[in-house]
Amino acid sequence: MSTPTPQAVPGATPKREMWSTRKVFILAAIGSAVGLGNIWRFPYVAYENGGGAFIIPYLVALLTAGIPLLFLDYAVGHRHRGSAPLAYRRLARGAEGLGWWQVAICFIICVYYAVIIAWAAMYMIFSVTEAWGDDPAGFFIGSFLQVSEAVNIGFDFVPMVLIPLIIVWAVVLLVLAAGVQKGIGRANIIFLPLLLVMFLILVVQSLFLPGAADGLNALFTPDWGALTNTTVWAAAYGQIFFSLSVAFGIMVTYASYLKHKTDLTGSGFVVGFANSGFEILAGIGVFAAVGFMAFSSGAEVGDVAAGGIGLAFIAFPTIISEAPLGGLLGVLFFGSLVFAGFTSLISIIEVIIAAVQDKLGMSRVKTTWCVGIPLALISILLFPTTTGLNLLDVTDAFVNNFGIMACALVTVLLVTYGFRKLPLLGGHVSEVSSIKLGLWWRIMVGIVSPIVLGYILISEVIKRIQEGYGDPPMPDWFVNVFGWGMAGGLVVVAFLLSLIPWGRNSAANDPELDSPTLQEAQR
């Protein structure tokens, strides 16, 4: 055939999608930032690290690293109007690999993150009948997940997880196929207010439970001595860093769909404080409920407090069984996890879809299925099995600590000292924004962030080498392959992907999509 298809014509790449208003962008960015970690990680981290005193390192971390890094992501995505690999490629020669590293991290996270949403969805149903009876821990590990004693990879599927997982993938891919505005934007406009309303009702219900005040007392009583402890400060920076969804491509991608003239810093402060505002709300709701759990079992709050999977799938079922209107509490709690997780999952997968779409110049729908179906199959093949919990545990720990954390450190170092692009990026943000980025921002990104990230990363590496991973420790081969090997593999994959040339249909060859600053345009 001699007639070229429309997509084969140079410059005929589909027009880049955009958010209709900045409100939609802000909602989507909050939806991405507010995830499972806000609900099940923050309350326990705060409790463990100084209680009420934790608010000081937490706010310092938000203002000195969280929000400055958020602006860095916005700047890269907005100025260079591309998915992570394309935006970094346009930022500097040789930076493309950083973008692919972020895409690879998102690939790992999304395949297990979807599974937790599937669990939470099932627990919404279980809450109505209190299916766990009087043994929530035994039910979760035994009856529900049917966790095998052997730590390996198996294909013994658990239908109760498999079926909701398939549904989660189907829904999330349908949303993504609908596009940036009509899919992602619309989903956030529906789910985010719903999450807030559900969670507010949950908090009010928890506050009326007997013992709630004891829980809040345990969470907010300050331990001022903690402020002299570096691990407490590292915990604050770690919490802010993981919670805000910075440095793994999401905010780069979302910012690339903004109009040229958008108040980036004004929007970023709203996103940063809204995310933290939800964490404080979660702290109040979760610890009020934990206080009730201590009250009803006659234990101390410190004995029953937990975080992560233990809080959600073991402690909360116990609370639900004993609380008046427990079924309602359960539906609200697990429903909140589902909605918070779902809007975050959307953003994680979007990083990959946007990258592939830019690279191959395919339509949104086609890219969604080409990327989404393999992702869903990997997730469905590896995780809803009797061996899925251990795999999820180790990949989650290593992709966060040695994937996102390492990638963030390398990114800030390279952008600041290697490519020397901070003045350019700061200048771009200042031109379009209400709050200007000056020297303070460059100090936070170029000096404070690398010191803090480097400290956390090195301490974590030492800890893992000395202690191994898991309680009881997982076999070395398992941790070496799915922990260290996976984290190292991400870098190799990123490097290899950055070597593949960009075709003439790719977004890299669409000059209209680059976004030089106004000053540059006038030169």
């Binding site: 009420g52 505005q181 619309r186 009583t221 108040d263 402060f269 709050i435």
Partner: protein
């Protein structure tokens, strides 16, 4: 609840939610440039 816990609860709420309120006020003072609205968007948004 102890006095110290109540004080820290109030400080946490005031700083974080106060920060959010300030951020929203700042954003509203700088309305976006409606001229650059993309032509095609979901009608209800």
């Amino acid at each position: 609840m102890s006095t110290a816990a109540i004080v820290m609860l109030i400080i946490a709420i005031l700083t974080v939610w106060g920060g959010l309120a300030l951020a929203l006020v700042n954003l509203n003072r700088h309305p976006e440039d409606d001229g650059a609205m993309p032509a095609e968007h979901a009608p209800e948004l």
